[in-house]
Amino acid sequence: MAVLTMAKALNEALRSTMEDDPKVVVMGEDVGKLGGVFRVTDGLQKDFGEARVMDTPLAESGIIGTAIGLAMRGYRPVCEIQFDGFVYPAYDQIVSQLAKMHARSRGTVPMPITVRIPFGGGIGAVEHHSESPEAYFAHTAGLKVVACSNPVDAWSMLRQAVRSDDPVIFFEPKRRYWEKAEVDTRAPDDPLWQARVVRPGTDATLIAYGPMVRTCLEAATAAEEDGRSLEVLDLRSLSPLDLPSVVASVRRTRRAVVVHEAPSFIGIGAEIAARLSEELYYEMEAPVLRVTGYDTPYPPSRLEEEYLPDLDRVLHTVDRSLAF
């Protein structure tokens, strides 16, 4: 067992799938010599060569479009999009080709492609470097969308994503890249599509993913001091959504607060609220509440702490929930 940062855990996951399967290729801007701007692909080109770790031209549609062609030839590309805000030039290839190819071809043309996207704010960056575009992809039939929240999951989820025969949009919470944990690379993987209760509790469920899991854990710890027992559920997979786990948790706690950095309007939180209000109509004590980024463009970084959900806003909203 080694103590790894999330970035390193992802790096090891790539390395191990590349060792296991010669068809796995890594491609993206600056993923080679530089090892990616977050060093997630560090050392891979050196060890696997330029044919398997490709510094591509600077064009995201080209990255995804050629990855699709490589997949048709039997490769298993892992594409890196440098930052969340730069995935949009590839949107057409993702939404109209990557997502639809399997259905279009009635399964004869699978798309075992992983698109890694560092996402979210909190790193003091300039515009377009702090976005949370996950709802765009989760709303798209044919894609699978996941987000890891810690090094252990980073390792096991990325390995499973790469091995998946479906296209997976893999969100990595960039402000958590440097967080560390013990990662047992020989432990059996938690199934990729399952949510996980990362802290049990009884008074309300905090539902989160990616960077907000830790925020929720901190909130739960703080709440404990006030005698409140909050359960924290890490969704891990956004599409498919592990609704049974969500329902099971909220059925117990009877209250739910969804937390994400992405804007509220038609975000993941809306879907969870809609589902829970239907599934647990007679069982909940309060409506599902949301703590999210505001419905504005991501602000200049000096304001990002105001924009991003934090411990206080989570607790404030838990209070509102409990007041129902």
Binding site: V25, A51, T56, P57, A59, S61, G62, I64, G65, T66, A67, I68, G69, L70, A71, M72, R73, G74, Y75, P89, D92, Q93, S96, Q97, K100, H102, A103, R104, S105, R106, G107, T108, V109, P110, P112, A141, G142, K144, S164, D165, D166, W193, S239, P240, L241, D242, L243, P244
Partner: protein, 383 residues
């Protein structure tokens, strides 16, 4: 604020000067020579090409008729582009792989795709029905230009597999061909494909059928110089071929594919041709182009010139033509019957194969859908 009339018209320059395309067969059916390109086919092969042209046109005409009769939702006719498609399609070697648009019925034919599959697509029973790997012919791509990147990526894969250059089996390796139109040349994706292909020296041929129109938009709204010259800007060769000349289309594409498979990288082939029909059966070209233009192009009909050639050179006789006509009739009849017999997919099929590994939510929706539909069927039975 200037008033409306003060606005100057954007000075779109007039149609790109017609630089002379490679030609091996004149519109009158005379064989001519070209310093760089030639074909040396047997009589049987010549007849084979003509046969393809005729059958492909027949497929097209039958499909248009079926659409008119309400059997297809829409049809994108290849009328006039048979030579570009058959020439390039036949230039492919067995292992080569093609990435079509939605109009490559002639190429599909050369790759052995049953035309009924094409009818199925335009009828709305599928989004393509053949197995692309088996036919070495991708599914039709409707979003303009996307497939050029897929082709380039596939070609990069060919390269990674070591399948470029002399092979253990004695062959010269594999090549890829990406089809697209004059309109498509404006798309970012197509130009990105040019970047990728040239930087990686990928074994891909970009085959642009310049049929002069992108729906109602003439080519001078997409480029102010001949399209084949686009390749210069990316550092690879471009060549303009007479797309109504099946022999030249064959020769130029064959050379480009062979260059690619031998490791010489991409070529852009511009097949200068003409869309003799409407853009699709939904389109009304009288709104935007002169009948005289069509008349002029009719004189360059790709079938007529090949027919003249076969006659003049006594490569084919009346029996051949009669037999071919009969075959075309039989093909058309088969297609018609097949189309009319085509059944819709089971509704519940729309939930299948969205993913390689389906999801609980989708299964839930499918179950609900089936229960709901069954309820209807029951209700129907009761009434």
């Amino acid at each position: 604020m200037p008033d409306a009339t003060a606005l100057t018209e954007p000075p779109i320059p007039s149609s790109p000067a017609g630089e002379v395309p490679v030609q091996l067969l004149t519109p009158e059916g005379e064989r001519v020579s070209h310093p760089e390109y030639d074909v040396d086919l047997t009589d049987e092969e010549y007849r084979g090409l003509y046969r393809d042209l005729v059958l492909v046109r027949r497929i097209d005409i039958e499909a248009t008729a079926l659409q008119r009769q309400g059997e297809l939702g829409i049809w994108a006719a290849l009328l006039g582009q048979e030579a570009a498609q058959v020439g390039s399609g036949r230039a492919m070697r067995e292992k080569d792989f093609a990435f079509p648009t939605y109009r490559e019925h002639g190429v599909a034919w050369c790759r052995g795709v049953d035309p009924l599959e094409l009818l199925g697509l335009f009828r709305g029973v599928s989004n393509g029905g053949w197995d692309p790997q088996e036919k070495r012919f991708q599914l039709y791509t409707i979003v303009i230009g996307s497939q050029t990147l897929h082709a380039t990526g596939y070609a990069m894969g060919v390269q990674k597999d070591g399948a470029v250059g002399p092979q253990a089996d004695g062959s010269e390796g594999e090549a890829v061909i990406a089809y697209f139109g004059d309109g498509a040349s404006s798309q970012g994706d197509v130009n990105e494909a040019f970047v990728w292909a040239s930087v990686y020296n990928a074994p891909v041929v970009f085959f642009c059928q310049n049929n002069q129109w992108g729906i109602s938009t003439p080519t001078d709204h997409q480029t102010r110089i001949p399209l084949y010259r686009r390749a210069e800007g990316f550092g690879f060769p471009g060549v303009r071929v007479d797309g109504n000349d099946v022999l030249a289309s064959y020769a130029v594409t064959r050379k480009a594919l062979d260059d690619a498979r031998q490791g010489q990288g991409p070529t852009l082939v511009e097949a200068f041709t003409y869309r003799m029909g409407a853009h699709t059966t939904s389109d009304d070209p009288t709104r935007y182009r002169l009948a005289s233009e069509l008349e002029a192009w009719k004189l360059k009909d790709p079938l007529e010139r090949m027919k003249s050639f076969l006659y003049k050179q006594q490569i084919a006789d009346a029996d051949f033509f009669a037999e071919l006509d009969a075959d075309a009739d039989a093909l058309a009849a088969r297609l018609r019957a097949g189309c009319l017999q085509m059944t819709d997919p089971a509704p519940s099929a729309m939930f299948d194969r969205v993913y390689a590994e389906t999801t609980p939510l989708l299964q839930e929706q499918q179950a609900a859908f089936e229960a709901y539909s069954a309820g209807f069927a029951d209700a129907g039975a009761v009434h």
